[in-house]
């Protein structure tokens, strides 16, 4: 978990305007998986983050809050103090922007 928190601290603050899917893909693990899971289900709870990272609820909350602080997730409006839920804010896109250059960066 220390390594995850270190990686998290190194993540750059994402500029306002939302994430693109290509940016989600280029995030380091385990953050990419957490955010993909959030995209797939519409939101991700503190419990789900804990399950994905194999950690405790307080640490999962810390991860969720830090990802929100850095602009990768957003806290859902109605918050239970003990059970936080997060959403991804996806950016506006232009369909014509093909991703060949971005895909090259993904090391696939």
């Amino acid at each position: 978990m220390d390594e995850i928190m270190r990686q998290l601290a190194d993540l750059p603050v994402h500029p306002a305007g939302g994430l693109t899917m290509a940016e989600v893909l280029s995030l380091p693990e385990p953050f990419s998986s957490v955010i993909v899971d959030c995209v797939r289900h519409g939101s991700i709870s503190q419990e789900q983050i804990a399950e994905q990272l194999g950690t405790t609820l307080p640490l999962a909350r810390q991860v969720g809050d830090l990802l929100a602080e850095r602009g990768y997730l957003q806290l859902e409006d109605e918050q239970d103090a003990d059970r936080r839920t997060y959403r991804v804010y996806l950016s506006r896109i232009r369909p014509r922007s093909e991703l060949s250059s971005l895909l090259k960066k993904l090391d696939l």
Partner: protein, 251 residues
């Protein structure tokens, strides 16, 4: 619980929309409620297979993305356009075929999060069993989103070197996006090819299951998107293979 199935190909002209429409008809023939969303906003086409045109389409996905209507208001019940009655229902959410509207969405873009919310809302309001997403070929933001939110992804390819390489990219992306089920459908295979050998080679190359190998069909060419193949040719080898693919996608 509803399943979201995306049908994608790296290159155009692989028969993606045709396959999607046929899968919809197969699922509906089993009594299921099916939504079909044409997310190929730049070059929409699946509406043609259901006998629709610019005049008969009142609202489109574009209207929803511009906040003019709810997504379910853009859904057209196309079940009655099928040649043979089915016990299920098919709802099509077409993309606009008006040149000005295609140009507008290319120029201004749209909120991709709205697309994601719209899929979930469609499943809920239309009580869908399956939501089929007909994607734009290649890799772009909406394709990545469609793949990311899918329970199953069908990648269509032809036995062609360009398709093979492009499909490799798509398979890698799908794996990175952790799609729960990934199958390949090989289409337009020359009849002189050994279909079983093609299947084995492709499965070995990608480490992914081939759900169907569809031989080139003159009947499909002659039909020319003027109807749903599996309904017109219920006993054809292509229809039998498509039914098998449908089973695989629902697993």
């Amino acid at each position: 619980m509803a399943k979201i199935i995306s049908v994608h190909s790296y290159r155009g002209g692989t028969g993606k929309s045709n396959t999607t429409a046929n899968l919809a008809a197969i699922f509906a023939s089993k009594g299921m409620r099916i939504g079909v969303v044409d997310t190929d906003i730049q070059s929409p086409g699946i509406h043609v297979l259901f006998g629709l045109n610019e005049e008969t389409m009142s609202r489109s996905l574009n209207d929803y993305l511009w906040g003019k209507c709810n997504i379910e208001d853009a859904a057209m019940n196309v079940t009655s356009t099928l040649k043979t009655p089915v016990s299920g229902q098919i709802f099509l959410i077409p993309s606009s075929v008006k040149a000005g509207e295609i140009a507008r969405v290319l120029r201004e873009g749209y909120d991709v999060g709205l697309l994601n919310d719209g899929f979930q809302r469609l499943i809920r309001t239309l009580k869908l069993d399956v939501l089929l997403i007909d994607t734009h070929p290649g890799m772009n933001e909406e394709t990545l989103l469609s793949i990311a939110i899918s329970d199953a992804l069908a990648i269509i390819l032809r036995p062609d070197q360009q398709d093979y390489q492009g499909t490799g990219v798509t398979v890698d992306v799908a794996r990175k996006l952790e799609v729960p089920r990934l199958v390949l459908i090989i289409n337009k295979v020359p009849q002189s090819f050994d279909l079983d050998r093609v299947r084995k080679q492709v499965e070995l190359a990608y480490g992914a299951q081939v759900a169907a190998v569809l031989p080139h069909s003159d009947e499909m060419m002659v039909l020319a998107s003027a109807g749903i193949f599996v309904q017109q040719f219920p006993d054809h080898p292509v229809t039998i293979s498509l039914r098998q693919a449908a089973e695989q996608l629902l697993k």
